[in-house]
Amino acid sequence: MEDTEKFDVIIVGAGPAGTTAAYVLAKAGLEVLLVERGSYPGAKNVFGGILYTPVLNRLIPNFWEEAPVERQIKGIKIFLISEKNAVSIGVESEEHNQPPYNNSFTVYRSKFDSWYAHKAQEAGAMLITNTIVDDLLWDGGKVVGVKARGEEGDVYADVVILADGVNSLLSKKAGLRKELKPRQVSLGMKEVIELPREVIEERFHLTGNEGIELKYMAGDATKGIWGGGNIYTNLETISVVTWMSVEPLMASRYKASELMEHFKEHPFVRNYIKGGKTIEYQAHLAPDGGYDFTPKYCANGLLITGDAARFLNASIHYEGTNFAMASGEAAAKAVIEAKKKGDYSEKGLCSYQKLLNESFVMKDLKRYRKLNRFAEANPEFFDGYFNAITQMAVDYFIVNELPKRQQEFRMLKSFRSNLRRCHANTPDERYRHNRVTRAFSRICPLIRFLWQCLKGGISFI
């Protein structure tokens, strides 16, 4: 590549955020370079399992007709599990089998990201793979290009868009964010497990290209660590995921890899996986606690998008890909506007912030901002409470010779004592709560439980 060559925009990372930006910019006629460190787009990318596509479907209407999607997700089944008990609730709709399929599809990232980057190429963007960007090039206080490792060398542009993922070494080097803390990330591990198509369809009650998501909330799925497990159905494989917040994982002293095995062998999980053959093992970090930890995502000649800017809704919805695409599109629009004005300074690019604030990205991040803190402050919520709730549900349906009213009384009594056990006088409890709260929760454990559920519900759902 010639040293003198200059692009309008260089985008680092060909994931959903970077490729969306590249696609929109190339469509608008700008000269775009998309740089990817993997051998192909998607080679380094991991997600839980569902691609959320409201933005994509607006950019490329009916994209599913040509994109390599696996199954449309028609519903979700949520499990609370303890060691021996489980409570589940399912939500499904036949409507989700019709376009736009509730904008949820399972995909293989290697195939989908490659296809998507190819669409950006068709629109006129230039894609180079196998290339890692080591640093940004600065001129005064403005970013003017990137420094690639190896033969590509220095490449110049008016604007650089960082879509380099959760670890984003580049935004750290640029001084736009501090080093990540364990409480700001979750570690996800995933196994892709092969099963015959008929077995998957029979086991998960699916026909045709329907798919379903099973979501296990914390509890015994992660041995009480704030996190969870998931199973997603692809056409001829299932993706089994365990994820957990890194700080409580560190405190627990469990081995991450053993927690993955624990989840797979759990009585309420293993039957879904039975007979399957693992064909790939993946691991990745995800940004947690979005809003309060977002870096400065707009600077002179620089925009940050997707996971790199920590745009991920880590609530019960756990959406990331649509946040990535929405932020990529917003960044592209901001650059197009800046080009019209000929001003690529932070001020010239500030419409990025405005577009994000107006979209679901910032609104949702703001709405769920308390979740991370809640999870940290109330670890019993994801462990002891789940035990108590599932035990109560099992007690309710128990069959014995007691009259039902007496059985219900017994159920409530054991629920109460289970709650009291969660509020036991441990050093941790003493550290987190004052004497009055502790005394109160021994006398009325139910009130504290309901109060916690209310707080948790507001921050989580």
Binding site: R37, G38, S39, Y40, G42, A43, K44, N45, V46, Y108, R109, S110, T129, N130, T131, I132, A148, R149, G150, V166, N167, L169, E179, L180, K181, P182, V185, L187, M189, E191, V192, T237, V246, L249, M250, R253, Y254, K255, A256, S257, M260, E261, T278, I279, E280, Y281, Q282, A283, H284, L285
Partner: protein
């Protein structure tokens, strides 16, 4: 299923130079050696006899957890050369 069997399923283009460098001297004195718990591929293991942290980088999935967990400054973490490291097929 142990971790070596899982890693044997993945496609790697192993670079000749490690992309992560670990200062063994710091690790030996580390009070928690948490990297040995959180690494999803168990690339860090404790050599019981002399409390050394043994590190291998070939099976690294480039997740970055060790980088975040290490508060002792023992890990110099970078991405592997373009095209090297793990290539996910799914």
């Amino acid at each position: 299923m142990n971790i070596d069997d899982k890693l044997a399923l993945n496609l790697f283009h192993v670079d000749k130079d490690p992309h992560i460098r670990v200062d063994q001297e710091i690790c030996r004195r580390c009070p928690h050696q948490l990297c040995t718990y959180v690494c999803p591929v168990e690339n860090y293991t404790v050599d019981g006899d002399n409390n050394n942290v043994v590190f291998s980088w070939e099976g690294c999935l480039e997740c970055g957890t060790c980088r975040i967990v290490c508060d002792q400054g023992a890990i110099a973490w970078d991405y592997p050369r373009g095209g090297c490291g793990v290539s996910y097929r799914f």
